[in-house]
Symmetry: D2
Subunit: 361 residues, 4 copies
């Protein structure tokens, strides 16, 4: 079988590739990280960890990846010394909150850079973390250093970061459309309401009656009302953009698709703000952003156009009857909402082309 | 085959049954009406019409109904004289707007009572109809007489009606939770925003690329933004309840389920209104309503519990951070949102038990 | 709320209704039995049991049934004395194999008639049971008495039975098309191969990674190859009809629908048998059967026409190129394949009309 | 926007890329070809044609491809001269049968190599074509030259071909598992029966009631029984491998997934053939094939592992009770069953690495 040879020919030379670990790689986010990093031209995967899948190969746990160049790699325990010993220069963490902080610290101490996909380093204020997550923050001293990794908003900070907190799936779909409008003082922060629909992979890969096929198929419902944990990071970032404390309504729903989040957000235009300014603010913010696709006025973002990609599609509309702007965004919750965005930060951190390994359609 | 004999034994005697026609019975709403009326204990189906299926039996067009007692009935053309000649005392119209009004008039003139499931008689003001539907109202003189058929709200009017305008699917899911709160002055009408997700059957049974399986499956998107036609009847009824003109945001979405609408509506509580008053108002309005199921505070309505029934489930939550109340409702868009609700009005019009033919689970 | 009153008016008088228990009522089959028996005109539900849901009402466990007349009934432990004390004259058992036999015996001893939906009493030979189910039969002395409850085939035996073994979902879809052809010596038993596709509810309501939404959606695969447990009862019944030992290929598949089994079975026509004889044999067997719908030559049975009903649709085709007959059947695995068929036997056992409580569309 | 620059850096230099056209690019197969060729490192897309989408860009017709390097390319009419004038050296045809042959001839005459994904050049015998497709073959003189493009079987012929007939989706899933067993004389050709389940994209992107979401969702059914058109090419290739005329049963089904075919094929082992020989024959045939993944004995191929890839997964089992071997294969009907396989042939024809542009997971 000659796959190895052929692949190498269009990859970077192995010696130049960045040695990379994925910690907690047996869930759906871990699976997406594996998918992206297995074919990333600048990555050499050196470690994947999972307590429950230890000793099995990637191909055995995820048959989809059989015959991928590095799918023979074997899951190991999430031990920091072992991970460091593989030569890994960077680790992606796809672990539950609370657990991630501890291993992040250990890996940082061993010289790795860390991209954490949990909620542990997304909030600047440990008290807010405790309010929303129900336990004291496990590593408050690291919060100062961590960068909330929205690549479109914090490019230089991410480039320089040792510790990136990759944003949540819902927050990404809500923040990217809203931030430019708040920065430009176009909308009234008190009137923001975000309605999201998420695919079932957002609930994770765990045995739970609620997420059985027969419980989710032909079903749609709200949940997590009124104070979903993601509100904490959403409001933190909106407040920074608005230069005032912002409190919003957030209404998440579960719908029967594997992947994808569609979010429809409304807010009142401030007096004096014109509808045209909405489109202009979005253009100004994202015209050159490689993974934001602006659909313009009337563009209704559809999850089917973004699944398995790192794109977020954003359209908007103005309702003269209510003076509200309506923002419509769609992303893959595992892609731009998790694994893809983390790889996007990785590309920035290591000086790669922004789209390396991410231009799939 | 002895089905006929057995069925008759638990049905009313044939001579007591109400002779009934369904006009425009080859779409999804027509199919649901057939489903309900084929087994309704007080109904004798005498006519089903469809230009495109003329000459075929119900069982041939909808194989699901094969071996149903009256599935041998043959589709005929929608001719008023022919329909009247079958002895029909009442006709359900499942026709496009514009078309329905003409045949409604003709049937009324021939002495039938009419339950129209189109939009033609839902609006009291012909000018609003023209604004939202893009053509002059085809029978403005009948608007005065027509009753907007929300059985929970207008029981006596429906009982006496000759012409019932059965509400739209989205409006039903939005109005039933909101009306009691407006009547009791608990919420600020200017802050209402309703977010709905509908199954694909809401788009009708027509050959259209947009509704192919592969275009809808693994897809979710907003549409009809910002001025969906259903806004006209929603705002009419909200305004009546609020005793002032109400304008709202309405955000419909298409999701990959066959049937079901889930709606999440938010509004600010008025100063002085307590969260407990929300629950009390809903209880007061619907405690004895046979088809409204109150899920209480925190109850997240799920379409899977209402599909193929005439129930609407309503839960609510209060968000102290934003002072907003969140109303969560779920119904079957073809059931309580269309055919079931029309049969509910039929039961009222003919003095039957409210639940006759509708207690399916 | 007047539902109770109205319902009673078209039900049998309460005093004439048959007191009925469902043992093991918290799975999908139990849910379907509840659904059917809650509205069955001749049934008074007196007991539902579930170890895990003890103390909760039917409506609390299955919100779909809220406001059904008897949904306030509370789950109890599966204790035979307690069940008998509710006055139950008959019990439906929706329990795992092995467990069912013990409680069946206890209930029979207390004078109840039993309709068992597990595999425990389907096989006449305890040795075959042990071969396929991996443990000794728990009540071999009862096998003699038990009736394999295919109502179309064993009407008088079921009418007289104290213990009915209701057939499995796959066997029902395979046996009903094949039995008449074997009885009439039209096909070669050695050439039979049955291919089935089942909805996910067939796997039961249990927390298992394999049946998560994201694992089943957009997936199709064979499983249980080559010796699925249902083969034992399928071959027993085919052998009886063929008056010789029959061994077949059975290829079950899992597909992403909630409910429904479609089975396509092929067999070689015997020399001298004409294609027309296929249709004639099916007509002879089922022309008056209330729940078998013959689609004729070329009729491709579709699960969407039978879901949530007790119908099985059967079409057939002849392939002159291979001299094979192709039988196409569709049923709801929870309906005709489980709960509906059990109620059909119940109707026979208690002298009711065959279609009582089962004519839903 | 810098995407262009980055992409180029890891692509072949533009001057070395092969100029390529897709004729008939607005259906699902065309969409998949676009998806693959947009990111193929050795391809420069110079023309996409579609009568109905003329004048629109790829990104406008398929919003999924927005921001792909070449998505600004505009659909043109399928005129051979215009296509040739774009410099195209090769054309993929995703057109209906009958139509493809004519344009294939015209393009060949203009010096292009052609990879036809229709049925027009798959059969060696024009009479068989007429029997199965209902009209005389439109270009019988080209049949001699055309190569049936199964890359695993005809590598050298494809490398040298001017005209490749890319196999149908069902045939690929049936032929790859069976061919080695026939070549090695392990199975009885008279006993072969193939059962397939296909996703709805197999029906094409056309407005047709039968393929509406609500008609396909929660539905499963056989169709095309007993003489589906694909039988012609299946039996042609099986006969070549078996060195005798082979006639089989083929039972296609439609199931509610977007993409994917799972096929389960049974055949009797010939006397003297051992079960182990099955596994050995598959290993011998495919151990070094880059896109065939052997799952071994008991491996149940699942479509979810192959969707959006060019892999075909093949497992097998032996049933000692019936002496039948059971072959289980899964592929993406648009991938290995259409577009992916065509690109695989393209790579052979142009001396590229076999996996170029196809190693997606």
């Amino acid at each position: 079988m000659q796959i190895g040879k052929h692949v190498k020919s269009w990859h970077f030379k192995s010696m130049n590739r960045i040695q990379t670990a994925i910690v907690g790689a047996s869930g759906y986010t871990g699976m997406e990280l594996i998918r992206l990093l297995l074919t990333h031209p600048a990555v050499e995967l050196t470690a994947v960890t999972s307590r429950q899948e230890m000793g099995k190969s990637i191909a055995a746990v995820f048959p989809r990846f059989q015959k991928a160049p590095a799918a023979t790699l074997t899951f190991i325990a999430p031990d920091p010394d072992t991970i460091a010993a593989t030569g890994a220069k960077v680790a992606f963490l796809a672990l539950p909150h609370g657990v991630a902080a501890e291993i992040a610290r250990a890996l940082l101490e061993r010289g790795l850079r860390v991209i954490d996909l949990s909620a542990d380093f997304r909030l600047r204020d440990a008290a807010v973390y405790e309010e929303f997550y129900g336990h004291p923050h496990p590593a408050p001293d690291l919060l100062q250093e961590a960068v909330y990794g929205l690549p479109e908003i914090r490019t230089p900070e991410i480039q320089a970061a040792r510790l990136v907190a990759s944003p949540g799936c819902y927050p990404t779909s809500i923040l990217l459309p809203l931030l430019p409008l708040l920065q430009e003082n176009l909308i009234d922060p008190e009137t923001i309401a975000a309605n999201s629909m998420s695919g079932v992979s957002g609930a994770g890969r765990k045995a739970d009656l609620d997420y059985l096929f027969c419980e989710c198929n032909e079903s749609a419902r709200a949940y997590g009302i009124p104070k979903h944990r993601h509100l904490s990071e959403i409001e933190q970032e909106l407040s920074l953009a608005a230069r005032q404390k912002v409190t919003i309504s957030f209404l998440p729903h579960l719908i029967p698709v594997n992947a994808g989040i569609v979010t429809t957000t409304t807010a009142k235009l401030l007096p004096g703000a014109s509808p045209a300014a909405i489109g202009a603010a979005l253009e100004k913010a994202y015209a050159t952003a490689p993974f934001v696709r602006l659909l313009g006025q009337g563009g209704c973002a559809d999850t089917k156009n973004v699944t398995r990609t790192n794109f977020i599609d954003i359209g908007w509309q103005y309702d003269p009857r209510t003076h509200r702007v309506i923002l419509m965004s769609a992303e893959d919750n595992l892609g731009k909402g998790a694994g893809g965005q983390a790889v996007q930060s990785f590309n920035l951190m290591f000086g790669l082309n922004p789209t390396d390994g991410l231009l799939n359609f």
